[in-house]
């Protein structure tokens, strides 16, 4: 059941990673962080003992990798169950016949208004234009300065600093993505062993595929952010706009006037709409079109949330 006692911190972390291989990568990153921080503190507290002696003690006090892995998996599942309760309550409870009946379809379609994820993702989509611009500029400036400064003595430290900052940004973005999409993301950063020289650090950073996927993610956030922003703005101007047009047109048709602005004649100003719009059926069509567009936009945005969560996890979390 228990494997050979690890003789170094890296061994221990590797064994822990191995024991958690089926778990969510974000959970693995947190567990590795906790263990590394604890083990390094333990080693630092006993400067006169050899690393493998201290590790033998640690396995006794901190727990064998398998035990620690089990504790994380258990706590995680308990916490997730606790956090999932309100979300599942909010969803319409599907009964066997509802999924196919007409009511079920309607409920599924309009249920999006009751899902908190729709609104958090709306916010994320709007925000992603700004974060996207920022991440992209950060990566573009950082990379070009790194290359430009590479021939100078400050080139190397600058590069290390840049990659470190990019990872920190990735962690912050991860927290944002988790809050908005519900996708579990790391709560603790990954770290490099403190005893590496500058050149070894750079070598590690260059070799880790995650460094490059993180930079790629941050650069890709510009086009993605623009696309998300446009989808939300177009959908949410068009849908509610159509509904508002129908309401105002209807009010104007029955003779309601506003002080200072007698009637709003939206349709009469655009020739393509013609006179049919004044017909009650035309107004109804306009309003239902607006409702469909608005609801559909929310569905798209919520779907984007799932896709983006999966994408962020692939790019930002250690594998």
């Amino acid at each position: 059941m228990t494997s050979a006692t690890p003789v170094s911190i890296n061994d221990y972390l590797q064994a822990l990673r191995e024991a958690l291989r089926a778990a969510d990568p974000a959970l693995v990153q947190d567990a590795i962080y906790d263990a590394e921080q604890h083990l390094r503190a333990e080693i630092a507290a006993k400067p006169n003992s050899a690393e493998h002696d201290v590790l033998a003690e640690i396995v006794k006090s901190y727990g064998a990798p398998e035990e620690v892995a089990a504790a994380y998996l258990e706590t995680e599942s308990r916490v997730q169950a606790a956090m999932a309760t309100p979300a599942s309550n909010r969803r319409p409870r599907p009964t066997p016949d509802q999924g196919t009946s007409k009511i079920g379809i309607w409920r599924r379609f309009f249920g999006v208004y009751g899902d908190v994820r729709s609104y958090t993702m709306l916010f994320y989509c709007l925000l992603s234009l700004f974060t996207g611009v920022f991440y992209f500029s950060f990566v573009a400036i950082g990379l070009s300065l790194s290359i430009g400064l590479a021939i100078l003595i400050i080139g190397l430290p600058f590069f290390v600093l840049f990659i470190g900052a990019a990872r920190l940004l990735a962690l912050v973005e991860g927290r944002l993505v988790e809050a908005m999409t519900g996708e579990r993301m790391p709560r603790r950063p990954t770290t490099l062993p403190p005893d590496l020289s500058l050149l070894q650090r750079i070598g590690r950073m260059l070799k880790e595929i995650r460094t490059w996927t993180t930079l790629a993610y941050e650069a890709l956030m510009l086009p993605l952010g623009i696309a998300y922003f446009v989808i939300v703005i177009v959908g949410l101007s068009l849908g509610p706009g159509l509904i508002a047009a129908a309401i105002f047109e209807g009010l104007a048709a029955v003779g309601v006037t506003w002080p200072g602005r007698p009637g709003i004649h939206l349709a009469s100003e655009s020739a393509w709409m013609g006179e049919w719009i004044r017909h009650p059926l035309g107004l109804l069509l306009l309003a239902s079109g607006g409702i469909v567009v608005t609801t559909f936009t929310l569905h798209v945005v919520r779907g984007l949330g799932r896709l983006h969560g999966a994408f962020a996890k692939r790019m930002l979390v250690a594998l």
Binding site: D30, A35, E36, A41, S61, Y62, V68, A71, T75
Partner: protein, 128 residues
Amino acid sequence: MNDSHAKKFQKDLNAGLVALVLLAVLAATDEDAYGYDIAKRLQPPDGSEPLFKEGTIYPVLRSLSASGWLSSRIVPSYSGPPRRYYRITPEGRAVLADWLAAWAHTRDFVEHFTRAATQQRPSEGSTI
């Protein structure tokens, strides 16, 4: 066989106790404490085996923090990754008060029924 039963029983017992002990330890101190520091405070005074492994407190600390019962801040460290310092929040203290009452009740209840068994055990053991 017997040993693994005992271990499993201990694990089941620990499920809620780790959180209770962590809240109690943090409530007893005025300073912020980080994971390693808290783990070291959990050493029993008589040098016996602690009830649970130090590695198991971290996920519990995180879940207590996610519930809003602990607040935390990050401080850079020389010996490794930055440390996360925890402090108990007023909600955490309220929860702890409830839990302590539940624990006292549980302890008395269990004690009441197990006392007899504990006193009988030596004679019972000799018959087997």
